[in-house]
């Protein structure tokens, strides 16, 4: 067993890696560059989606967007915690965590509070909470491998798992993120692209109802670009086609 006093480091944290990163950052400033996996700027990574991955849960789904791999289990509707107040409508409880080997450098594999909250907000509007009063539905996500655009993968996967569990929803929820690099917009960014982006936009929508459940913007954006992007959410429609 490891003695806690020894300190360890990953051999890949080398100088070469850092130089590569800086080179990439310079490259992304330019107008025309190739994405490292050969995709077009407006092309999503190949996706793989499967429901019913885990038998212990009421419903579950497994999603791969390129190298990003996520598994979501849904439990319930089950009794709310004793301390909870009486509620006419159902409750949704979300938790997102990472495995220790999800990132290239071994991490601590802890809960991700921000993603848990965002996942909750993205799904809340799509679920018909009135159908399970006094009870709670638990949505737990585990990121097996993080390869960029993690949150969109979690949200899409969670909505599939909810559907698999037979939870009543207005529509499936699908999500996609877009990164902004100077003049360029890049859809479904990878981790290395996310690390260098100027700004990012994530959109979650219910495609058949044309309703947006969540829109998050970070970084530098111009108004014109935002409008252009909201139109872009039709691209997420194409993501939904994979589901059916």
């Amino acid at each position: 067993m490891a003695t806690s006093s020894t300190t360890t480091y990953s051999p890949s944290q080398s100088l070469e890696k850092r130089q590569q990163q800086q080179q990439r950052r310079r490259l992304f400033r330019e107008i025309d560059w190739k994405r490292s996996d050969g995709r077009e700027f407006h092309q999503c990574r190949p996706a793989f989606l499967r429901t019913g991955a885990a038998s212990a849960a009421a419903g579950s789904a497994y999603v791969e967007f390129g190298t990003t791999k996520v598994i979501v289990s849904v439990f319930g509707p089950r009794e709310s915690k004793k301390a909870m107040m009486y509620s006419d409508i159902g409750r949704l409880n979300c938790n997102v965590s990472y495995t220790t080997f999800s990132a290239p450098i071994r991490g601590q594999g802890s809960d991700h509070k921000e993603y848990s909250l965002l996942l909750h907000k993205a799904l809340e509007g799509a679920i018909i909470l009135e159908t399970f009063p006094k009870t709670t539905v638990d949505v737990f996500a585990l990121i097996l491998e993080s390869g960029g655009s993690d949150l969109p993968a979690i949200i899409s996967c969670a909505s599939l798992a909810l559907a698999d569990a037979g939870i009543m929803m207005y529509d499936l929820v699908s999500a996609v993120s877009v990164s902004c690099f100077g003049a360029n917009l890049v859809i479904d960014p990878m981790a290395e692209e996310e690390a260098c982006q100027d700004g990012s936009l994530m959109i979650t929508c219910m495609p058949t109802r044309h309703e947006i459940t969540q829109l998050t913007l970070t970084g530098e954006w111009s108004t014109a670009k935002i409008n252009e992007n909201i139109d872009n959410y039709t691209v997420t429609l194409s993501l939904l086609l994979y589901y059916r």
Partner: protein, 291 residues
């Protein structure tokens, strides 16, 4: 009363009535559920293989980091084994409240791996007294349906069998750096580990958990069976048929020698099966290597 309702309300009488007829009331009356091992050829240092025993699913991966070996063992690397039960695996685990069995299984696995001598820690050494590998093995339970230890141990062994150690070199500061394929030609750096790219595993341990109830023995209990009856015996046997560990933590059933021997015989049979399953899972990998 309907059968399903009877099963839920009176689980123990339901089981006992089946047992009286020598039938196991699991979905299909099979003695041991299907077992599969998948080894993913993902880039080193991770190699996340998964193993599935019935519905219990495990995912294990090893991350290699560099450490300075301790003074008492300058030519040895180190292992850190951790077993995780994230809330996705079972309705009984809630976030923020880690499952009690997880640290117990962690300890059991690392005890078995260390005591069976399956891994020679000297193989993890890089530079005598200066640098050695610290191998972090993390096992995640993705779906818990009983006999977690057996599945976790199988995935741990699969992960070690599939571990590929990256080429490394030492830079001017004395730090160990990874040498990727492209850099290999350009750099004049001397490679530290040209050999020793894979661990040579000695006699691998395999385990079988048996549940005891009155005078019945069931191999490989499911989560439902574990919740109804409480006495389990876990036997670990290595690939040469030697006994590594026998674990029986109390329980309401006291065991006679004969029952324990029966468990050991079952575990021996199981170890042979698992060895074959593991070899089959690893063989396509070997074909790739030889090309």
């Amino acid at each position: 009363m309907e059968v399903e309702a009877y099963r839920r309300l009176f689980p123990l009488p339901y089981y006992e009535r089946h047992l009286a007829e020598s039938v196991r009331p699991t979905p299909a009356s099979r003695p041991i559920p299907d077992t599969t091992v998948a080894v993913a050829p993902s880039p080193p240092p991770t190699g996340p293989p998964s193993s599935k025993v019935g519905d219990t699913t495990m995912l294990a991966a090893i991350k290699l980091e560099v450490m300075t070996p301790g003074a008492e063992s300058p030519d040895q690397g180190s292992l850190g084994i951790e077993f995780h039960m994230p809330p996705i695996c079972s309705p009984l685990v809630r976030p923020g409240r880690p499952a009690e069995v997880a640290p117990v299984i962690s300890k059991q696995i690392s005890d078995v791996v260390m005591s069976s001598g399956v891994i020679d820690l000297k193989e993890l050494s890089l530079i005598n007294g200066k640098a050695a590998w610290m191998a972090y093995l993390d096992i995640y339970c993705l779906n818990a349906d009983g006999s977690l230890f057996d599945a976790a141990l199988l995935s741990a062994i699969a992960a070690f069998s599939n571990l590929q150690i990256p080429l490394v070199s030492v830079n001017e500061d004395g730090r160990v750096i990874a040498v990727s394929g492209k850099l290999q030609e350009e750099s004049k750096l001397e490679l530290v580990n040209k050999e020793k790219r894979k661990l040579s595993l000695r006699s691998t341990p395999f385990s079988l958990t048996c549940m005891l109830h009155k005078n019945y023995i069931f191999a490989d209990p499911t989560a439902e069976e574990e919740s109804i009856m409480d006495t389990v015996v876990t036997v670990v046997i290595d690939s040469l048929g030697r006994l590594v560990s026998v674990y029986k933590a109390g329980g309401s059933v006291l065991v006679y020698n004969s029952a324990l021997q029966e468990c050991i015989i079952l575990a021996k049979k199981r170890a042979e099966e698992l060895q074959k399953i593991l070899a089959d899972a690893l063989s396509p990998q070997m074909d790739l290597d030889s090309d």
